[in-house]
């Protein structure tokens, strides 16, 4: 690894043709993965992600170059390439401050047991216990793949404004992929058990084995759901991970890259009413214990709490440095990327709807006919969004009548968030998952209290 003075020379080389800003991003990440097919453990695999990226910005133009040759000479060559590619031919060069400095912050996700220090046999035991719990959950299982993953990512961001900051992010994850059968048909499902922490999360067996049993049982129940006719009805979304609604219906459209490309219904609407007054939407990368949290973003900015919509009024966008500047805003700690092979862009972290004051029980009780969504599988966002209803129940006369299946919630984000007519008092967190977009797969959470949409078209 190069030292700070060599990094300075690399940054100076990148700025040579007159760019306004240059940044070096180093990454050294160790990951391990162990797979189990039904009860048979396949083996431990180690992954080492290692490389660096140089980001050069000037006005509305940016250059990103990256390589896994992290030698001083290799990086100098990369910086020269970046300078030539941006090709501004300015005589004046930005001066880098004499001293590099970085913020001192405490990690929102402290780690007790680093996974690399844990013997493979202990990881194997967790995997076996999880697979066993799934296999003996009850339903007939055609195929079961259980994966154990852990990640230990160390990054260093050093830039031409004199910032030098390091961060270390540790996560662990179990993934279950199961195909169940009732003898006539089969049904596939996958779910993750994610934690932004070290191996200490597996000290309590009940947590992960309960997850496995519950996941298989719910997958079997999903097979028995009844198709419902398409209709316009009230939709109640349960507290917790149903918050994916916010991620897909408006989160992506609030990212500065979407605003700059004019690919968003929120363009030019700052300060305007865009949602029901019951809606206060927040993105906060600082919350302890959540999958989307870290000390800094991937541009070295300290993470922060961003109020995006307050009582229905659009207050802010999610900004990284480059796309933020394109729309006249500063970074608010949302520049994120999967690894050094991606330039950072504006992304969500922990996106949630603030709790309201409505009675959770009344939300269902007052519905003569409608849909209750217990969990959402995932979806896509943008001006039009779609969400998979993983577990849903039909509401009849204010009560849950029968499970439904094969439903997708689709709509226009702006239309739907205007129709929120109830927001519950009890906020529940989400375990977290991955969001895939322009800068790769990044860990996020998205959660809410129980909410009701006054009317929504459903189909399946």
């Amino acid at each position: 690894m190069i030292h700070e003075q060599e990094a300075r020379k690399i940054l100076e080389t990148a700025l040579k043709s007159g760019a306004e800003f240059a940044e070096l991003f180093f990454e050294d990440r160790e990951e391990s993965n162990m797979k189990c097919v039904k009860e048979e453990v396949q083996g431990l695999k180690t992954v080492r992600i290692f490389g660096a990226g140089i980001y050069v910005i000037s006005g509305t133009s940016s250059i990103y170059v990256y390589s896994n040759d992290c030698s001083y000479e290799g990086l100098l060559h990369l910086a020269k390439q970046a300078s030539e590619m941006i090709n501004l031919k300015r005589k004046e060069q930005i001066r880098i401050p004499d001293r590099f400095q970085g913020p001192v912050m405490s990690n929102p996700n402290p780690v007790k047991i680093y996974p690399a220090t844990v013997e493979g046999r202990k990881k194997q035991k967790v995997l076996r216990e999880t697979a066993k719990a799934a296999l003996f959950a009850g339903p007939e299982i055609l195929s079961l793949n259980t994966d154990y993953f852990d990640t230990d990512q160390r990054i260093w961001v050093i830039n031409s404004e004199g910032l030098s900051v390091k961060d270390r992010r540790v996560t662990t994850r179990l993934r279950l992929q199961v195909a169940v059968s009732d003898g006539r048909q089969s049904f596939y499902n996958w779910e993750d058990y994610t934690h932004p922490s070290g191996f200490e999360v597996y000290e309590r067996e009940q947590g992960y084995t309960e997850f496995a049993r519950d996941m298989v049982k719910r997958t079997r129940q999903m097979m028995d759901g009844v198709a419902v006719p398409p209709s316009n009805v009230p939709v109640v979304l349960e507290a917790g991970s149903c918050g994916t609604l916010w991620h897909e219906s408006c989160g992506h459209s609030l990212e500065a890259c979407a605003i700059a490309a004019k690919n968003s219904a929120f363009v030019g609407k700052l300060g305007q009413k865009v949602a029901s007054e019951k809606v206060t939407l927040i993105d906060d990368g600082t919350i302890p214990g959540l999958y989307g949290s870290s000390v800094i973003d991937d541009e070295g900015h300290v993470r922060q709490k961003n109020i995006l919509i307050e009582n229905g009024i659009l207050k802010s966008y999610l900004c990284d440095r480059f796309h933020g500047s394109m729309i006249g805003m500063k970074s608010n700690g949302c520049g994120r990327r999967q690894n050094y092979t991606y330039a950072p862009t504006a992304r969500m972290s922990n996106t949630y709807l603030a709790p309201g004051e409505d009675d959770e029980e009344e939300m269902i009780r007052s519905v003569p006919e409608g849909l209750y969504v217990k969990s959402i599988g995932g979806g896509t966002g943008g001006m039009q969004f779609s969400l998979e209803v993983k577990e849903g129940w039909w509401i009849k006369n204010g009560e849950l009548a029968y499970p439904v299946k094969g439903l997708m919630l689709t709509g226009n984000g702006l239309d739907v968030i205007r129709k929120i007519d109830r927001v519950g008092k009890r906020l529940e967190y989400d375990g977290g998952g991955f969001c895939g977009a322009a800068s790769g797969l990044i860990p996020t959470t998205t959660f809410q209290p129980r909410v009701r949409i006054a009317e929504m078209a459903i189909g399946g």
Partner: protein, 461 residues
């Protein structure tokens, strides 16, 4: 590849516990440039080499496989091999499995070979030309063109083969276009891409046709009652469906019963007008594949012909389990493989449904009355590959007497992939080439399909 030299030497004298070893090196070099309003707005340049190390270790419990992946090229080959061997002790017995020895014939690739890539200046000039042509024809729109040159080199060295090292190097060019415009104060946004083996084969006409087709969908809003309708699926929609549904054709899912086609090899499973293949290259795009990640050459493979399921996508292990030949479709980067690509699974190269002779417009005329589905969303979450069930959110157009009448939004097409493929009456000639999102490790190439009937839920008001 210089990265493999150290491993080749290390394999001449392997540590005693290692019976066999194989190292795969994948080097990806990318140059890309984005142009908007005649100006360069962004560019990327990269050079990354990944090393995948597999070793077979003899233990008291049998032969076991160890794995290690690294991007740190400074690591000592001997240490890396030993590290992989350490992991093997926790693995299952793979005595019945094998590494494949390879020979030089694997390197004979289909398609045109490009010796060198194009220069930065030439790529930039072509991107500026494309953007200028499109701006000339679309004056009120905001257009962005991103042009990408990718060179992929795969090298492999193993300890068991007479020919210890093979190498394959392929170039491709890709242009991505994004267009934003307003009509009657309504914003519209669209993006698409084109790939080719040569830079000069990327054309603005391709994008202009796509733009005109996109604008042609702006009809008056209609309303659709739920029901079963004759349907034409646009080639973009079929590509979207098969970006997920190809998994129903893997040996892995066949063996575990996790595909509705399990046990149906040799049987009639779909309409006889369909021919589904896996190809090393396709004429419609620039994605080419030489050898898979087990050293097996990618060869043309018919998956289904005349309605009969003939072959499956295999790794060596699934081919052996079914007593069949490997198909050159062992990969690591597929759906759900996340960001750690350690497992070898069946992954297509170019998964292709052969095209027909008539245009989509002709298919609509033959359909007469029905629905033309031209846009679909999120097939990843809306197709169950074990049951084949799908519920895909879409946009469509009501067609009367072969004429497009009104757009319907918020509809969903429903059914099973098996029924859909069984009910295909005709295949169109326009093809959509869809590279897999983000990883671009395979493509799906599909035409429009005319279907006897499909369940469609009603439109949103």
């Amino acid at each position: 590849m210089r990265e493999l030299e150290g491993y080749r030497k290390a394999m001449e004298c392997l540590p005693s516990q290692i019976a066999e070893a194989q190292v795969q090196a994948d080097r990806t070099e990318i140059i890309s440039i984005a142009i908007m309003n005649g100006e360069q707005t962004g560019a990327q340049c990269s050079d990354v080499t990944e090393l995948f190390i597999r070793v077979l270790v003899e233990t008291e419990e049998g032969k076991k496989e160890g794995f290690y992946y690294t991007q740190n090229l400074e690591e000592e080959p001997k240490e890396v091999l030993s590290q992989a061997a350490l992991h093997a002790y926790l693995a299952k017995d793979v005595s019945k499995e094998r590494f494949l020895s390879f020979d030089e014939s694997h390197m004979r690739l289909e398609g045109k070979e490009t010796k060198d890539g194009e220069s930065w200046d030439k790529i930039k000039k072509r991107a500026l030309e494309l953007e200028r042509e499109l701006n000339r024809e679309n004056k009120n729109a905001q257009i962005m063109i991103r042009l990408i040159q990718t060179k992929e080199t795969r090298g492999m060295v193993n300890s068991v083969s007479d020919v210890r090292c093979i190498e394959s190097s392929l170039f491709r060019y890709e242009a991505e276009m994004e267009i934003a415009e307003e009509e009657f104060n309504v914003p519209y946004f669209y993006g698409c891409s084109q790939s080719a083996e040569r830079l000069e084969d990327l054309s603005h006409e391709f994008f202009q046709k796509k733009i005109e087709k996109w604008r042609g969908m702006r009809l008056k809003q209609g309303k659709l009652e739920a029901g079963e309708y004759p349907v034409v699926l646009d080639c973009e929609v079929t590509a979207n469906l098969f970006a997920t549904a190809w998994q129903m054709f893997t040996g892995k899912n066949y063996l575990s019963g996790s595909t509705p086609y399990a046990g149906k090899k040799g049987k009639a499973v779909m309409s006889s007008v369909l021919c589904i293949k896996n190809m090393p290259s396709v004429p419609e795009g620039g994605y080419r594949y030489g050898v898979d990640c087990e050293g097996v050459p990618v060869r043309p493979l018919i998956l289904s012909e005349n309605g009969i399921l003939k072959n499956l996508l295999h790794t060596i292990a699934t081919a052996d389990a079914m007593k069949e030949e490997p198909t050159g479709t062992a990969g690591r980067k597929a759906l759900l493989s996340g960001n750690i690509h350690t497992e070898i699974i069946p992954v297509p190269a170019n998964f292709r449904i052969e095209k027909g002779e008539r245009s989509t417009e002709d298919l609509l005329k033959t359909m007469g009355d029905g629905i033309y589905i031209f846009e679909s969303f999120d097939v990843f979450h809306s197709i169950n590959i074990a049951s084949g069930e799908f519920h895909v959110p879409c946009k469509g157009i009501i067609v009367k007497n072969g004429v497009k009448e009104a757009v319907v939004e918020g509809i969903t097409i429903n059914g099973t992939i098996q029924d859909l493929l069984m009910n295909v009456e005709e295949v169109g000639r326009e093809m959509q080439v869809r590279p897999m999102d983000l990883l671009k490790s395979y493509t799906v190439c599909t035409p429009a399909l005319r279907i006897t009937a499909l369940k469609v839920t009603g439109s949103q008001s």
